[in-house]
């Protein structure tokens, strides 16, 4: 806290009668939203944690039986769940690498002088603004087995995508989902990194170039050092979002073919609403939340260590 702020606070404390003097004021402002989040987020979360230790059927949820760790033992023993974990891992890593990589490339491309720059920056955000449902519909149509434009182009190029189409092909479905996800995400990364790039002092890059450094070297020793924290932050957001992404995958493949696109969230939803096993579904959800927590806490530790090292 700055000295003036501290001084102001002392002054305010002296004026006890002042409406701002009350120490309860912040809580009064906080209360409505906090109560709301408590009812609609915290309570359901606690219920979900409880459910994960019970056997509960969707059709008769009041009769739930406490089973301890049984749901967790069951899911970790099942080969299907191990495939789900692996798919989730591949999906999340590929999303993060793909979105951050392409987003950074686009940000570098847009961070220069060229005519029409303002329009280009606006138009590039279109994929991110488009509703997920609409994206799933157009992607499904573009990948249609007979008439989809992407299928037609790939076939014309001599790529064998199989008779049943890309989304029904176990070797290609996940790639198609990934490409669609990255298409949706890269504009967000690009816009965030573009604003980070604009905070790189021009004198530094110019000085490096004057010293005869080539572009790659300048990028590595100057630009990258400045944008590194933002890149880390965006990668963290991409990880959390990809762990919870539902509608795009659900609408394009429902986790199929042969479970090749079944991530944790897809698995939990179909356990709850197709198999009606709420306890199992909750346990799968908890695994997802624990993974997200590990990622968040881990990234904090890494960035702290980096700060201390610097």
């Amino acid at each position: 806290m700055s000295a003036e702020r501290a001084g102001a606070d002392v002054a305010l404390k002296r004026r006890r009668r002042s409406p701002l003097g009350s120490r309860w004021t912040p809580y009064v402002f906080l209360l409505p939203a906090a109560a709301y989040i408590f009812v609609f987020q915290a309570v359901p979360l606690v219920q979900e944690i409880y459910l994960s230790f019970t056997r509960t059927n969707l059709l008769n949820p009041t009769r739930s039986v406490w089973v301890g760790l049984e749901n967790y033992e069951k899911i970790f023993a099942s080969a299907g769940f191990q495939q789900t974990l692996l798919t989730t891992l591949v999906y999340v890593i590929a999303c993060v690498v793909g979105a951050v990589g392409s987003g950074l490339g686009v940000a570098l491309l847009l961070n220069g002088r060229f005519p029409g720059r303002g329009i280009a920056r606006a138009l590039v955000t279109v994929p991110w603004a488009a509703p997920g449902i609409a994206t799933a519909l157009i992607a499904t149509w573009m990948l249609n087995a007979q008439y989809g434009i992407i299928t037609r182009v790939l076939r014309a190029l001599g790529v064998d995508v199989g008779e049943s189409g890309i989304l029904d092909n176990p070797d290609l479905a996940l790639t198609a989902i990934l490409a669609t996800t990255i298409w949706q995400l890269f504009p967000f990364v690009a816009v965030v990194l573009l604003s980070a790039l604009q905070s790189v002092p021009a004198e530094l890059t110019e000085a490096a170039e004057m010293d005869g450094a080539n572009r790659w070297w300048t990028f590595r020793v100057v630009t990258w050092q400045v944008i590194k924290p933002t890149v880390g932050l965006v990668a963290l957001l991409m990880t959390i979002w990809s762990l919870r992404r539902f509608e795009l995958i659900w609408l394009m493949t429902r986790g199929g073919p042969l479970g090749t696109t079944r991530t944790l969230v897809i698995d939990l939803y179909s356990q709850a609403f197709d198999s009606k096993q709420l306890g199992n579904a909750a346990a799968i959800g908890m695994v997802g939340i624990v993974i997200a927590l590990i990622v968040v806490v881990g990234s904090r530790l890494v960035s702290r260590a980096a700060e201390r090292g610097a």
Binding site: F40, L45, E48, L109, V124, I138, P187, V191, R244
Partner: protein, 276 residues
Amino acid sequence: MRRVRIGVVGRMIGVLIVLGIAVFPIYWMFTTALSSDADLFAAQPRLVPDFGQFGVFVDALADGPTLTWLRNSTVVAVGTTALSIVLGIPLAYALSRFSFRGKVAVGLLLLMTQMLPEALMVVPLFSLYRRFELLDSLVGLVLANTAFVLPIVALVLKGAIDGVPRELEEAARVDGSRPLTVLLRINVPIIAPAIAAAAVIAFFHAWNEYVFAVTFIFNKALQPASVGLAGFVGEQGTAIQTIMAVAFMFTLPAVAFYLFAQKYVVSGMTAGAVKG
């Protein structure tokens, strides 16, 4: 000098390729909607829209449930926007202007909500809603959507309030105004653009939302457009042109308004992750 000019040309080619990738699927949605059956299923598809087919948009609105869907989506989106702004402004003010016990916990809670998938929360909310008769109700969707968009709205607004000079408030306080009056009279008018941006975020969060709507709504007359559109997937009866026309009409407002709010959305979301 020569090298610089080639650099600009190369950069522009790169930008054009990226823009093509970004915009093509939306363009293709529009073109597919405006294609005749003959063009759609020909060996060589038509690559530009056939404006003679424009009636497909009119028919999509006139026949079938499209208008009901869009109306329901609008009701849910307006409700979510109003509720999350009303709850979000005081929360943002508390986070921006006061230091108090538990502030860190509140920040962590807001970050936590970013990690909870809707698909997980839908189960406990389902049983809560059954007890309070909120299933098959647009109010139920407003309540659920608000819970998920409120943290983002609050962070966007907090960023804006951080930028309001304290001196402006102090003048009002010396006059003896209460904190709520200060917030409403001084801060709210100044941060109006950020409130508008937060409203856009909340509106289209609800407009696009699918999981809650598909799980909580059984009555077809109450379906929002996201669920209606998703119902086209795997269904054989509806012409692809109609589907794409409805999808395009559903997409257009979201894209148009996001272009306006983009700057605030991005700064709000990244700020949220930094602070947590």
